[in-house]
Every structure is written in structure tokens, then in C-alpha cells.
């Protein structure tokens, strides 16, 4: 029998160890991310001094700027300065918008968050049931259909799907609104609080604006969602097949539990543990997918910010954006690890 007395001490000790491991992973990954973005900035052929002072600056201005940027110091010192700046929230100034990159990202990030979140929700709502149906009918026609849907989802370029969606649902059928986040007519109705327009509109009771924003959001979110349906359904299927073979599933059936409850209450409850990681991963994929999707839908988010800066050789903005996406990746990873542990009593 497990002794109840020393459980607490044992548990908190184990938690400390887990937290330590997670934190060191985060630290190392973060360090790697900073190193890579830093090195990219170093190898690029664009002269960072010229980006600041302009092409026609006299030699003394140029040299002063060079000193200001710390470019005369050895590489490892520059890297140290870079890390210091990042941690004090200084990602430099965007040449294109002439704001600080941090301010720019603050305004564009909520739009991407909104898009990726709704996309993931759509992916979960379609992908999980699809995967379950496939697992329950393993090897039979529902499984084959789910498999083909999954493979098709893996094969469509997201930017092309977005274009086709616009062509069909906006131009031909008129079911949704076109590019952009909200119609010009409603633009001034909603004061940004969270930056997520639908949330802000709902909070201010501007329901017309809310629905207008929704009709703009639904198509790009669905396009992204379809991408994650492929991944989520496939993984759900394999986790569920694994769970449905377990003895406890038979035990539940012996008790007389209905098949519905066996699948959704018993097997899925176990499959959720690895699924959390999958959903986190697909969320990260969607953040990436938003780079291309946002371009198509003129969505003023982080993805479009990065690509715009890219095409204009605005390196501070590109690297800042990359860093933020990377940091979100790391954060989501950590978050999913924690949720996964909480969902599994054995890991608690």
C-alpha cells in the first residue's frame, strides 16, 4: 500500500526536478534561438550601418553609427550586447515603419493570435471527431476517407487554398467578407483594448462590428483550420487505436458502459494526454502558416509584418518577428508539457 505520509515531500521534490528540467530546456532553446537570429543578422549582405544612416552619409557619420551599434567589438561581445538588448525589450527600430519593432509587434500580434486560435479550434472540432471515427472503424471505409482527407490536407499549399477560398466564397458566392480584418465602415467603432477585434467588439457591445469582423475572420481561419485537421485527425486516430486496444476498455464494456461512453469517456480521456502536445504543435504550425495566409488575406498580423519587412530588407523587423515567433513556440511547448502532465495522473 502506498504510504500517504511521505507523499507530499516526495511529490514536491519531484516537481522541483521537473521544473528544473523544463526551465533548462527553455533556457537552452532560447539561447539557440538568439544565437541563430544573431548569426543570420551577421551573415546577411546588407550593411546594418547603411540601414541606419542611409546610403549617402559622410564617412564620419558612418563611423560614429558603426561605433554606436557596437560593430567594432568582437563577435561574442556583440552577441552579449544583443542578448542584453533582447531581454530589456529592445529589438531595434524598423526602417519601414520607423517605430520600434517591439511596438510594431504589439500591434500586429493580436491579429495573428486571433487567426491561429480560431484556426486551431476549427482543427480540433473537425480533426478530433474525424480521427475518432477513423480509429473506431479502423481499416474500413470511414478510416480510408479520413486517411485521404488527411493526406489531401498535407498536400495543399495554404496560400493557394486561401486564394481559391476567396475566389469561391467571397467573389462567386459572397458568403464571407474579403481581405482585411474589418470593413472600413466599422473601423472606428471599436476601440482596441485587447487588440483582438472580436473580443473588443463584444466587450463594447458593438455587435454589428463583431459580426463584420467574424465574416472577415472565418475564411482565413477555416483555411488554416483545414491544415491542422489533417494533422490532428491523423494523430487522434493513432492514439485512439492504441487506447481502444487496452484492457481497461474491455473492462468498461464488461461493466455495461455504452460504446459512446467507452470511446468518449474512457479512451479519449486517455488519448487527450498525448493529444495536448499534438494540438500545441499544430498551433505552432498555424502561427507559421499565418505567414502565408496573412499575405493572401491582407491580414495585418505578425506574418504579414515579417514578409513585408523581408521584401524591404528591414532586417531588425524580420529578426524581431522571427524571435517572437520562436519565443511563442517555446512558450507553447512548455505550456503543453504542463497541461499534458496535469491531464495524466501518473505524471502529476
Amino acid at each position: 500500500m502506498a504510504s500517504s505520509r511521505d507523499t507530499w515531500a516526495g511529490k514536491s521534490g519531484r516537481w522541483g526536478k521537473i521544473a528544473g528540467r523544463e526551465l533548462s530546456t527553455v533556457a537552452i532553446t532560447m539561447f539557440g534561438l538568439l544565437l541563430v537570429t544573431f548569426l543570420i543578422a551577421r551573415v546577411m549582405p546588407i550593411d546594418p550601418v547603411l540601414a541606419v544612416v542611409g546610403d549617402r552619409a559622410p564617412a564620419d557619420v558612418y563611423d560614429k553609427a558603426r561605433l554606436d551599434l557596437g560593430l567594432d567589438k568582437p563577435l561574442w561581445q556583440q552577441f552579449g550586447i544583443y542578448i542584453g538588448k533582447v531581454f530589456t525589450g529592445d529589438l531595434g527600430r524598423s526602417v519601414l515603419t520607423s517605430n520600434t519593432v517591439v511596438d510594431d509587434i504589439k500591434t500586429v500580434f493580436p491579429a495573428t493570435l486571433e487567426l491561429a486560435t480560431l484556426g486551431t479550434l476549427i482543427g480540433i472540432m473537425l480533426g478530433v471527431p474525424l480521427g475518432i471515427v477513423a480509429a473506431v472503424h479502423q481499416g474500413r471505409w470511414p478510416d480510408q476517407i479520413a486517411r485521404v482527407i488527411g493526406l489531401i490536407g498535407y498536400s495543399i499549399p495554404v496560400f493557394w487554398l486561401g486564394l481559391m477560398g476567396l475566389l469561391l466564397f467571397y467573389a462567386k458566392l459572397g458568403w464571407v467578407s474579403g481581405p482585411g480584418r474589418i470593413s472600413v465602415a466599422y473601423q472606428d467603432f471599436v476601440t482596441p483594448i485587447t487588440g483582438v477585434i472580436m473580443l473588443d467588439a463584444a466587450m463594447q457591445g458593438e455587435w454589428d462590428a463583431f459580426w463584420d469582423a467574424f465574416s472577415h475572420l472565418i475564411l482565413p481561419a477555416s483555411v488554416l483550420g483545414l491544415l491542422s485537421v489533417a494533422y490532428i485527425s491523423r494523430m487522434t486516430r493513432s492514439f485512439m487505436i492504441n487506447e481502444l486496444q487496452q484492457q481497461y476498455v474491455i473492462a468498461a464494456r464488461v461493466k455495461g458502459v455504452s460504446e459512446w461512453q467507452v470511446i468518449w469517456g474512457h479512451a479519449l480521456r486517455n488519448a487527450v494526454v498525448p493529444l495536448v502536445t499534438v494540438i500545441a504543435l499544430s498551433y505552432m504550425h498555424l502561427l507559421e502558416g499565418s505567414v502565408l495566409t496573412e499575405t493572401i488575406f491582407a491580414w495585418p498580423g505578425l506574418g504579414r509584418y515579417i514578409t513585408n519587412s523581408l521584401l524591404n530588407a528591414d532586417m531588425n523587423a524580420v529578426l524581431g518577428g522571427t524571435l517572437v515567433v520562436g519565443a511563442v513556440f517555446i512558450g507553447v511547448n512548455l505550456f503543453s508539457d504542463i497541461i499534458g502532465r496535469l491531464a495524466d495522473p501518473r505524471a502529476r
Binding site: Q246, Q247, A251, R253, V254, G256, R269, A343
Partner: protein, 290 residues
């Protein structure tokens, strides 16, 4: 020990020419080929090697044969109800409430992400309209009945937090809470430490006897079955080799009447009281399956 059923009482389970076939890519696998028996309020042992079809018999009675398998029988009747013509939903309602099963390894047969209490209470609520509080009280009583000392504490434990012996007692509580008439025990102690095997068996026996249930005890262990059951079916290759009262197994004088396979099973076990130079190897004759 109870006497076998009086002839006036209706048997709990009647089974005639039960067959379980699996249609696979390489042909038909016959797991059970024509098994017949009648179960009263008694303890019936089914003994055989692995692959003899004993577990599949239990699963077939419960309508839990997995996908490519199919069940056929001339007769499969539970207390006058024909199970062969019954729809899936009604078969399900019989499970747990009327016919239940204790499985081999509590480590795998309890759901790892639900507390043991939740799982016991669920077994009750599937069949009874009861508030969650009532179900919990019932479950606690049941945990006491399987001799768990601190039911309230154990109720909130997860399966990985209980030992094997305790897990199996939880399993018994879960499978008996809806008060079934028949319990199938499929190797209920094989996964347990030897030290707790007898304890668990005793609990199982007490509950089955006091509630007047019919027990089908599936095992590969002839000695265990012999001391624990009233009647024994010896199975080989999906067929019953013979059916006999358990007492006769130990009866040396009755050896001449025994089936050679039964003798083989008896002889291939070491015996502390009678020294044997060499353990016999089990002989199998394809003619027995004809």
C-alpha cells in the same frame, strides 16, 4: 461446499455447441469449436493451456468478441432469455448487471486517468438511476466488502497508486457492485504476487458464495481450480475434453476413468508430497479434436 443445483431450479446459463470463429486473411481460426455446458449457482472451473479457447468462451458469453470474430451456438440462454436473438443494446444491459467479469491484470484493466472510486461508481450508475452521492456510498460499502481498510481514502486514489492485490480487490468491487448473477473470473490471480493470491481468492469466494452467484473460473492452474471449484471443464483446442466434479481430480483411484489430456495436465505439475524423477511432458493428440 454447496451441492450442485437442484433439478427444479432453472439454470443460470445454458450453452450448447458454442463456436467462436475468426475470419482472417489466412483463413478461419476456430477459437472455440462446439462447447456445451450448463451453469447453476455453483463454481465452475474451466481449465486449459493458453489458446485453448477458455478466455474466448467468457468473452463470447459477454458478447465481447473483437471485430473479425463471430459467435455461433445452438443454444445460448441466460435464465430463459435467448442471448442469440437479443440485440446489441440489450446484451450490453446484461453486462455488469447480470453477467460480469473480473479480468487478469488490474494494472491494465483499470482506467489510468480515473480514480478507482469513479470507476466503481460508474459501474453502479450505468445500471441504476442513482445520485452521485448514493453511488459513492454504495462504492464505499463495496470497497469495505472486499476488505479494503480505508475505503474513503482508496476511493480517491488512481490505479497506479494502489498495489496489485488492492487493484484486484477494486476490480472485484467494480464488477460485483451491480449485483450480477454470474461472474466470470478470467485468471483473476495470475498477475498477482503469490502472497496475496489466496487472500484475493478468499474474498472472491466469500462474495460469490454469500450472494449465491454462479461463478465461471477460468484458469490454467489445475490445482487452483481443483481446490476452488465444484465442477471442472478441461478444454483443449477449443473443445471440452471432459467435465468432472473437482473432487475427482484429486482422487487417485479414479485415474483410470480420466481423459489422457487431464492426466497429462495433472502429471506435468511437480508435487511436494510425491517425489517424481522426471516431470511428464504434456501429450497432445490431434484425434481429440476430430
Amino acid at each position: 461446499m454447496r451441492a450442485p443445483d437442484s433439478p427444479t431450479e432453472q439454470p443460470l446459463l445454458e450453452l450448447d455447441n458454442l463456436r467462436v470463429n475468426f475470419h482472417t486473411a489466412t483463413g478461419i481460426v476456430r477459437a472455440v469449436r462446439g462447447l456445451s455446458f450448463t451453469l447453476g449457482r455453483e463454481r465452475l472451473g474451466i481449465v486449459g493451456e493458453s489458446g485453448s479457447g477458455k478466455s474466448m468462451t467468457g468473452r463470447a458469453i459477454l458478447d465481447l468478441i473483437p471485430h473479425p470474430g463471430e459467435v455461433q451456438a445452438d443454444k445460448l440462454v441466460y435464465r430463459g432469455q435467448n442471448l442469440l436473438t437479443m440485440d446489441k443494446g440489450s446484451r450490453r444491459k446484461l453486462r455488469g448487471r447480470h453477467i460480469s467479469m473480473v479480468m487478469q491484470d488490474p494494472k491494465f484493466s483499470l482506467n489510468p486517468v480515473k480514480t478507482v472510486g469513479e470507476q466503481i461508481a460508474e459501474a453502479y450508475r450505468v445500471h441504476h438511476k442513482a445520485s452521485s452521492r448514493e453511488a459513492k456510498e454504495r462504492s464505499l460499502t463495496m470497497l469495505e466488502a472486499v476488505q479494503i481498510r480505508e475505503p474513503a481514502r482508496v476511493y480517491d486514489l488512481y490505479p497506479h497508486e494502489v498495489s496489485g492485490g488492492m487493484g484486484q480487490r477494486v476490480m472485484i468491487a467494480m464488477m460485483l457492485i451491480a449485483e450480477p448473477d454470474i461472474l466470470i473470473a478470467d485468471e483473476p490471480t495470475s498477475a498477482l504476487d503469490v502472497t496475496v493470491q489466496l487472500q484475493v481468492l478468499k474474498i472472491l469466494d466469500d462474495l460469490v458464495t454469500s450472494r449465491g452467484m454462479g461463478l465461471i473460473f477460468i484458469s490454467h492452474d489445475l490445482h487452483l481450480v481443483q481446490s476452488f471449484c465444484d465442477r471442472v471443464i478441461v478444454m483443449y483446442g477449443g473443445k471440452a475434453m471432459e467435465t468432472l466434479p473437482a473432487a475427482e481430480l484429486a482422487d487417485e483411484s479414479a485415474r483410470a476413468h480420466r481423459h489422457p489430456y487431464t492426466l497429462g495436465l495433472l502429471d506435468c505439475l511437480p508435487d511436494l508430497d510425491h517425489r517424481k524423477d522426471k516431470l511428464a511432458t504434456l501429450k497432445r493428440d490431434p484425434a481429440w479434436l476430430a
